[in-house]
């Protein structure tokens, strides 16, 4: 691939904030199609693939990872300035990721429990999605996002189509795959009715409950699902934890989790 100036090519940057690097693999795990992709777009910054030009101006910036340190925050602002379009990828970038579980706790106490010298480490009290700090033009949910999501998105842009978010419920994908409902047949506390599609309904295909790694769907009725979980015999603490997993800091899941946590506290008193 010739990366020299080609004015017609879409220029792309991939930035990493606080994350596991798993979403970047949606690019690096593409196999042969990665070579096709680099014919269509020109990567300017993508450290894991070997390109380190963080401050170059680009058409499209993908951001992986949550804002959890002062450095993350500064970078997010720079990315906004340098990019025409900003797209957050993955649970970390869209809702703070697993590390946002600290938002529900005393993050400082946690730091002190883990580090003998927490003062050596600069970190924010919370882990949050990128859109809480800068304007984000599009979000790809999923932990991790898939190759299909990335390529579909880029190709829509290249064809001049306005990308549309996929936000229907996982249950719909289950039905399309003709999977047996794990909630009906096994009383498994599946989040499918409030989680967005995109994974291909993987967990139900493995006979297990969805744990929500693609985040909340459109119009999620979390409360009624949570009541159903109570009907299945889950205690409030367990219900709270179902929603406090990969996307604990997304609004609907956070609210539901708080609600059941509060009930738990009352019971203990």
């Amino acid at each position: 691939m010739n990366q020299q100036a080609n004015p017609t090519k879409l220029t792309v940057a991939l930035h990493k904030l606080t994350s596991c690097s798993g979403c970047q693999l949606a690019f690096l795990n593409q196999g042969a199609t990665l070579l096709e992709l680099v014919e269509l777009v020109e990567f300017k910054h993508f450290i894991e693939a070997g390109l380190n030009h963080p401050d170059e101006k680009v058409d499209l910036a993908f951001v992986e990872g949550s804002v959890s340190t002062p450095e993350d925050l500064k970078r997010a602002q720079q990315i906004r300035q340098n990019s025409k379009l900003v797209v957050s990828i993955g649970a970390c970038a869209t809702s703070g990721g697993v590390q946002a579980l600290r938002n529900m706790a005393d993050g400082n106490a946690w730091m002190q429990a883990v580090y003998t010298r927490p003062d050596f480490i600069a970190t924010l009290g919370t882990s949050t999605g990128v859109a809480e700090h800068i304007k984000v033009d599009f979000e790809l949910w999923g932990c991790p996002i898939t190759v299909r999501q990335v390529n579909h998105f880029i190709r829509q842009l290249l064809f001049g189509a306005k990308p549309r978010p996929e936000a229907e419920k996982l249950c719909m994908a289950c039905k399309r795959h003709q999977l047996v409902c794990v909630m009906v047949t096994q009383q498994a506390p599946c989040l499918g009715p409030v989680v967005r599609t995109g994974c291909g309904a993987l967990c139900p295909a493995f006979g297990r409950a969805c744990y929500g790694c693609f985040g909340p769907s459109e119009q999620p009725n979390c409360h009624s699902l949570a009541n159903r979980f109570a009907g299945l015999g889950l205690v409030p603490r367990e219900i709270a934890q179902r929603f406090a997993s990969i996307h604990s800091h997304s609004n609907p899941f956070r609210e539901e989790s708080h609600h059941w946590q509060a009930i738990e506290v009352k019971e203990i008193e």
């Binding site: 990567f43 450290i47 946690w110 730091m111 580090y115 993987l202 967990c203 493995f206």
Partner: protein, 432 residues
Amino acid sequence: MAKQRKIALKVPFVTRLEGEGALELSAKGDTIDKLHLKIFEPPRLFEKFLEGKSYQDVPDLNARICGICPMAYQLTSIQAIEDLFNIQLPDHLIQLRRLMNLGEWIQSHSLHIHFLAVPDFLGFESALSMAKQHPQVLQRGMQIQETGNALMTLLGGRSVHPVGLQVGGFGRLPEPANWDAARQQVDQALPAAVALLRWTASLPLLDYSHDFIWVSLKHSEIYPINGGDITTSNGLTLNYWQYPDHFKEHQVRHSTAFYSLLDGKDYLVGPLARLNNNVAILPGPIKKLVNDIGLVFPNQNMFTSIQARAVEILLALTEAQQLLAEPCPTGDAHLPVTPQAGECCYCTEAPRGMIYHHYQLDDEGRVINCTIIPPTSQNQARIEQDLKYSVKKFGLHNSDDALKFFCERVIRNYDPCISCSTHFLDFNIVRG
């Protein structure tokens, strides 16, 4: 330097992997007075947010420690917990886990070789920019990487944060049609792996061999992934419970990752450490090929790590081929699970080296506390020691650019899980 404090922790904690790094080197003439590999991975506090979570949720959360070796984190916790719950898996499930493990090694090593290491040898900035001139090298790498991913997907549903593993076995067994497809893919990738190994043997390597300790699991019959004793090159053989007696972590000001030391000394984990310890049990044909192409293990040249990875890729594909030659397994996908309170620990070999997990669970199987020690924190002290030795030997009179590139290459041998910094270090040199 004056302010650098080392504090020995009583209970070791590590909370993250991956991230970014920087190197700071200050020297006067021929004397280095500071050489710091700084890892500033933001803390993600896994060990705290796992507290209170059910044993069923632990593997899914643990996967998120690292996108490149998620299964290693899942499986280390699963095996520790299975030990505590007295679960002994039937043979076919053990084999399936092994197959999936092999897949993770294949994809992770291939990613490392082709995206991180090879551009050094061919003189490119990045793998992407090699595509035009060396399509065959990259395509071969991608074929191998895809095969590893396919094995993980066969058993886990996807290769990043797979969903198939659980305490007690798997969610379901593979479908025969997918089993056959995986076998074909492995058959096709094997010649590519042989070619890759030969190619790595033909590379001109730097040699900065020096004395150091290496540590890995070791097993008398099978190349170790899960199981085997912790074995050190200075003569220790330990079980997992003895880990905390000898391995201690401490924090330093310049890095967010902990430093782990073995009885006060730095040590190596990872492919070269594993191969050094286990070369004797490589299958005959692979051993012969390794000899024929002139590779010698054990050795203490960290630049042979790329070859060690290629050997392990070939080993993994060979074993995968044997496992897949059997009919697609039938029977139970998992065993019943009855939680029990207590403590448990386990070590496995992630692609990048040994991982240690320790859990205390209550009688419902909820985490009371835990400790997770990844390979990166184990290698960090070793990387710094290697740099101190190698940079001096390389010559501090070299230009900043030459020194920077040299240091990057040294660090890349270790593939520390700061995947970003492995290719690019903010390099800071102060010359006195």
